[in-house]
């Protein structure tokens, strides 16, 4: 593997694949930070399971991206040789773990979006994407269930846990708008039946969330200003630190095999 960052010509399809891949990798990376530090041993194992699912999904999408891009690239070229500005993940998944409530709320928000997204992607005209989605959907359905059950317990637990859950929800809510954004390139893929239209998932997202939040004695924050930019490579400061960790060995030893 050469030393330089990857220089990519992003076709709409490649960009679309990388969005899904980067979301999964960065979220999996964040969740893996919990390993050894969770509130109880059972949860160490549960969070690691979710992280492993995410890393696995990322690998499937990167492998497909490598096939689409050609030039003999591998999954690792995409993960380890792109600059922060080339990452296409949404801002939500790169937000720090915070306390356990922050991690759970981030997971609920993302899962409530990505689970129906994958379910819709199963009918993609692109057979590879459809196959990846069919496997991923079963995983994300469980992620939603697990994080949803926890959010109910935190919201309807003690005063302290309720406060923490509410604070996390307020903190992370502005990152949900980006999940439903569609740019011109993606619109063409939606038109072609390659990708589902995220805007069509909004109603289900709201309903899923309301169902969980009601049980959790919490309320969905009102619309408000939404952060944006991740899909175009304009990230929060956090992503740079994530990549500094993630890519350090590959960057320090260019071309080495691990």
């Amino acid at each position: 593997m050469p030393t330089t960052s990857l220089s990519l010509t992003e076709t709409p399809l490649l960009a679309g694949i990388l969005r899904r891949a980067d979301d999964a990798l960065i979220l999996g990376h964040r969740l893996s930070e919990w390993c050894g530090h969770a509130p109880m041993l059972e949860e160490d194992i549960a969070l690691a399971n979710i992280a492993l699912d995410c890393v696995g999904q990322a690998r499937s999408f990167y492998t497909y991206a490598a096939e689409v891009a050609g030039e003999g690239l591998t999954e690792d070229d995409f993960a380890y040789r792109r600059e922060a500005g080339q990452y296409r993940n949404c801002l939500l998944v790169e937000q720090p773990n915070g306390d356990f409530a922050g991690t759970i709320v981030r997971q609920v928000l993302f899962s409530a979006f990505i689970d129906p997204y994958y379910r819709a992607l199963v009918s993609s005209r692109d057979a590879t994407l459809a196959a990846i989605a069919a496997k991923a959907e079963k995983e994300t359905a469980y992620h939603l269930r697990h994080s949803g059950e926890w959010l109910i317990r935190l919201g309807d637990g003690t005063d302290e846990s309720h406060q923490r859950a509410r604070a996390a929800l307020d903190e992370l809510w502005p990152y949900t708008g980006e999940l439903f954004e569609v740019d011109a390139a993606e619109a063409a893929l939606i038109e072609a039946g390659t990708l589902p239209d995220p805007r069509a998932l909004r109603v289900e997202f709201d309903a899923t969330l309301d169902h969980i939040l009601t049980e959790a004695t919490l309320t969905r924050p009102a619309g408000g200003w939404m952060q944006s930019g991740g899909r175009a490579g304009r990230h929060s400061e956090h992503l740079g630190f994530i990549l500094a960790d993630l890519q350090y060995l590959q960057r320090a030893h260019p071309g080495a095999t691990w």
Partner: protein, 95 residues
């Protein structure tokens, strides 16, 4: 202040179609729904299961090991419960 103890649960897995659930271990969870999820996460990481049971450990009533003779000894002499107790001539074939 000592922390409140999180209840212990026993986990049973049915590993293949047709087999009975088998005890595999235990875990801690505050309630049944979380116990079931933890059982899935802890005990089925290598595709071990098709079905899970979780039972509060406190709900299990065990026989007393000191009672072993009284409880289980009497059956040892009842060999007429086993098929080999009865004689059937070879010519009759398998029965």
């Amino acid at each position: 202040m000592p922390e409140q103890k999180i209840p212990l649960w026993e986990v049973f897995i049915r590993s293949r179609n047709g087999l009975a659930h088998k005890h595999v271990g235990s875990l801690h969870a505050a309630d049944a729904a979380m116990a079931l999820q933890a059982a899935r996460d802890v005990y089925t990481r290598r595709g071990e299961g098709l079905s899970l049971w979780v039972v509060p450990s406190a709900a299990i009533v065990a026989s007393d090991p000191a009672d072993k003779d009284v409880m289980f000894e009497p059956t040892a002499s009842k060999i007429y419960r086993h098929p080999t107790f009865y004689e059937v001539p070879d010519e009759v074939g398998h029965m």
